[in-house]
Symmetry: C2
Subunit: 608 residues, 2 copies
């Protein structure tokens, strides 16, 4: 793997490397203080190189065809996407040499998806640090940062990033991120980063000035695909696979979430995933640290997490959108409008038992047969969630689950997730029922683009805009401001009750031996009444059992306790986390096999 | 699988089925004698159906949006691509119920690629039959027909076909093909057909009038890809995978050659190949006949032939272009102009030992790293050749190998191929050194298209057109006529000598136990002198050995006989198939281990 970028080697020496296979001449344009134009040497591999006396902080452009462009592999864009790149000391030991006693294992992680800009009033990495203890105390042990690659302006979800190696300046840049990672590791928390290898944003994307990073041979929702298998694609692979290694090596992260891997098109015999898998494994070995890759995949294809020896991509895990869809439509009758192919209890049962709900059948939303069964794949190969930035933010009103279903159903949803065999991911604020929306927002500087984004967004959601409903303007700063968390609510009324419920669920999940078993062999799901589901889990040796009763109906439901244990002890009851004076639950603390108990409407109860 | 087309069920009943998922109304327009417009019923599956009183031979169109179009799944286009479709009795037992005592196994096949239009003066299926005995006597036991799907006019390689289910009218239509298949089977010969599932030709392609058969989300050399994984693609899969089954079920073929599988884009979890593999296996079982799928693949990816349990596509075999390229450039110094990344003895050795020559290294022609090793894959998973329609016809002058290298080198090439561990494929006429060219030709009817084809072809070969060289006009009938074989030459002079050499090679291949072993374990290749190669083959138990000495140089070369046998007997010597009064060979009939022998220039000798 060739490493692009400006690598500061110490002793004032910096090696500048930039890939431009079809260019005759590229110059390094140093623009700090005294300007200087430095010649670069082109290698047979299409890379231009120069070793120059330059300290960290030095600003530079690459000069091509008479114009200045920032470095595609810039590590820092202090003045934003259109400004010069800056040399960074990646080996900076102060912020890097933090040790954890032990790294968390993927199977023990409780993920927390976090948008840096709206998580705190300051919207920086550093501002997150004082809140880590709150999170950790709730049981959350892994934060997953939405993309921090440099994007235009100061407001963006992160998916319009145009410098995959540069850490957003307004968030605090490279130093800020390193500080946050260190602070997490000190607490025994892990940090994941969301990275985007399927497209770049529309503003400040200068890559095509350097080389054929894109190909019109494959289409994606964002236009031309990234060129992973046509002419000159070796350099493109170096750039993006190198980016995976970069986060592992220099930022000491615990893993990455890879955005929309179904739009990474590579039909090479040795493809993106084959190479990434080998390179990551080699670097893990070398550094002696684990590193997890988690894919967002819209393929419903088990190959994503399967081992390479059976033709898989070898991802550590993948997101399980079907779990969200199956669950959400049971909680909210209106959900079918967005998730037309979901809505039956059997589908949620399949989501628990097998994973993918769509495993080959015709799906009307896609107008084709879709997916393949993931039955038998261990639960810790999937990350599940009740909500995430997409499911919330891609609604006209940006409504979180807390604005869509009642308090009892939110708790039911939390139980469905946290007692599942899957790695859970919470969307920031869900743990205390945050009720601010989370909108889609941008801060572009080009007028035409702003209009195009507004129009495109409105068109995408056309069919969902209700008569008279306001359509938030993505460019408007208030759209961003309205998306901020209200941290102070954690301690108040219903929010506090919700937080306690999440805490209790996580605590049970992390301490109960049965819930530690992610294998599907001993997991059974029964639909008992029309809207009552019994999830039965057990240890691998079949000696310990736990049942969860989910009542999705608006009525109390009676159920006969199963007989594979003589006596059941209630471990958790969502009904007891309520501010009602009379909790509606009728279920006893202890109950014998075959006895009948009553489960309150819209609630979850755990017996072990 | 839904079956499109007009299936004649006997008793005058014909079931018409056509897929048009986004159309409200499709009518069946019967146009034989009395015209009649028949209503069709649309099913939930997007298919329109009607059962009508119609005998075989009945002509019809489908009437959509006020216009008549031929059936995309037409089994016969008696008046060409723009005319009506005709009902065919696919169950016609007269031509179908021919039995072979035993079907040939793939590993025993000697393929013969044959273009129906230029193989005989008449250019029909029927005209081939009288020549079958000549082929069989040469040892050729399998003919592979270049595509016969209905194309515009009477002259075409076949890759501009627009009715994948219809057998070319000018070749003799469905009845003619069935007769030929029966005649082959009677002689114990097998028949393969070349089919194209990656594009349709430009004239007479009415598919888009019916449904979304194409998608602009993937590009191919022919424009938009066939839609195998976007909206409505189930019907497209039915159509093309159904086509595979059609040839097996109704034409009793032994297998298919699948053109350019690398341009069949399907990223579904359950993709084209998964489904094809299952459906073909099920139908083979049902019919009790083997059926082989052989891919043309430009991926150098072992997954094409690997088993589905390890993520493969499960093809019976795939074409091994690298063998051709590696060999050709050793035979013809000028070959590097077309095959810039080939030319070393080591590459031919790798082609013998491993299969793919490019297995991950940078390939300048492709401007990227390319391929993956196929080491360890049995030789009968690959089809090799010295020439084929592409390697010959995609030259400005359409020169066969006989026009590019001398007589001795042609014989050397034949030995390289037929003594290889691969399934050999001969290009029609090569067995007697046919010296007519084989050009690219078309017979379009649309003037603009004719000009576009001329211009496109000239542009494609621009860099190869030598000063003053004639560029043949693809549309000109004489281009087609000049490509015809001269069968009478088989018995004449050097042609007869060549034929005898091919015969001797095939005979040895088919009868020698060592050459029956396609596994690579016991195969070794040594490059002894700069241009002398020793191919060592042995039986699986290591008890019987055979060596082939290939001298690619212009000089006689001395070689010491290997010592794993005490005495070597000469089995074949290309030098003895020559019309020279003094054969140049110095190699003795029998020779002891470690003795030195002399191998004549440009020759091949086999000792066993």
């Amino acid at each position: 793997m060739k490493k692009p970028g400006a690598i500061y080697e110490g002793n004032n020496d910096c090696v500048f490397t930039v890939w431009a296979p079809e260019k005759e001449d590229v110059k390094l344009h140093l623009v700090s203080d005294a300007e200087e134009m430095v010649s670069m040497q082109k290698g047979d591999d299409g890379y231009f190189r120069a070793t120059v006396n330059a300290l960290p902080g030095t600003r530079y452009f690459y000069h091509i065809d008479g114009k200045d462009f920032p470095d595609p592999a810039s590590f820092f864009q202090p003045e934003g996407v259109h400004g010069p790149s800056a040399v960074v000391n990646l080996y900076d030991r102060n912020s890097q040499l933090h040790r954890q006693k032990e790294r968390l294992l993927l199977k023990d992680m409780i993920f927390y998806e976090l948008h840096v800009g709206t998580f705190t009033p300051a919207g920086t990495f550093e501002a997150i640090i004082p809140l880590l203890d709150d999170l950790f105390e709730t049981g959350i042990n892994t934060i997953e940062l939405m993309p921090v690659a440099q994007f235009p302006g100061g407001r963006n979800w992160g998916y319009d990033g145009v410098f995959p190696y540069a850490v957003q300046n307004s968030y605090g840049g490279p130093a800020g991120l390193k500080k946050l990672v260190a602070a997490c590791h000190e607490r025994g928390m892990a940090v994941f980063l969301d990275v985007v290898y399927n497209h770049l944003g529309p503003e400040g994307n200068y890559l095509s000035q350097f080389g054929p990073y894109f190909t019109n041979q494959y289409g994606t929702p964002w236009g031309d695909a990234i060129n992973f298998d046509h002419d000159w694609s070796d350099g493109v692979k170096d750039y993006f696979i190198g980016n995976i290694l970069y986060w592992l090596e220099y930022y000491n992260l615990d893993g990455l979430r890879l955005d929309a891997v179904h739009c990474i098109m590579d039909n090479s015999a040795e493809n993106f995933w084959d190479i990434a898998w080998k390179e990551v494994n080699a670097l893990q070995q070398k550094l002696g640290r684990p590193f997890y890759l988690i894919a967002e995949s819209d393929l419903n294809d088990p190959k994503v997490v399967n081992d390479p020896v059976v033709g898989g991509w070898g991802m550590s895990a993948q997101w399980l959108d079907d779990f969200h869809h199956a669950l959400y439509v049971l909680l909210d009758n209106g959900g079918k409008e967005r998730y037309a192919d979901f809505g039956s209890m059997e589908q949620l049962a399949k989501a628990y038992k097998d994973g993918f709900v769509h495993s080959g059948e015709y799906v009307s939303f896609r107008k084709r047969s879709f997916g393949k069964s993931s039955a038998g794949i261990s639960g810790d190969k999937f990350v599940a969630f009740n909500q995430n930035h997409d499911q919330v933010g891609n609604r006209v009103g940006g409504e979180r689950l807390s604005l869509l279903v009642d308090f009892e159903r939110q708790k039911l949803a939390a139980a469905c997730l946290l007692l599942s065999p899957y790695i859970p991911l919470l969307f920031m604020g869900e743990e205390y029922g945050e009720d601010n929306p989370f909108f889609y927002f941008v801060s572009h500087s080009e007028k035409q683009l702003i209009e195009a984004v507004r129009a495109g967004r409105r068109k995408e959601f056309e069919s969902f805009i209700k008569a008279g409903e306001e359509f938030p303007d993505p460019q408007d700063e208030t759209t961003f401001e309205r998306s901020r968390l209200q941290w102070e609510k954690r301690k108040q009324g219903k929010h506090k009750l919700m937080l306690d419920w999440y805490k209790a669920l996580i605590m049970l999940r992390q301490t109960n031996e049965v819930l530690q078993n992610h294998e599907k062999g001993g997991l059974h799901v029964n639909i008992i009444e029309e809207k009552l589901m019994l999830l039965h889990r057990q240890t691998a040796d079949g000696k310990k059992h736990l049942i969860v009763l989910f009542n999705f109906s608006d009525d109390e439901v009676a159920v006969v306790m199963p007989s594979f244990k003589t006596c059941w002890l209630k471990l958790l009851d969502s009904n007891q986390h309520t501010d009602s004076h009379e909790p509606a639950s009728r279920s006893p603390q202890q109950v014998n096999a075959t006895e009948t108990i009553r489960i309150a409407k819209a609630s979850a109860i755990v017996y072990g």
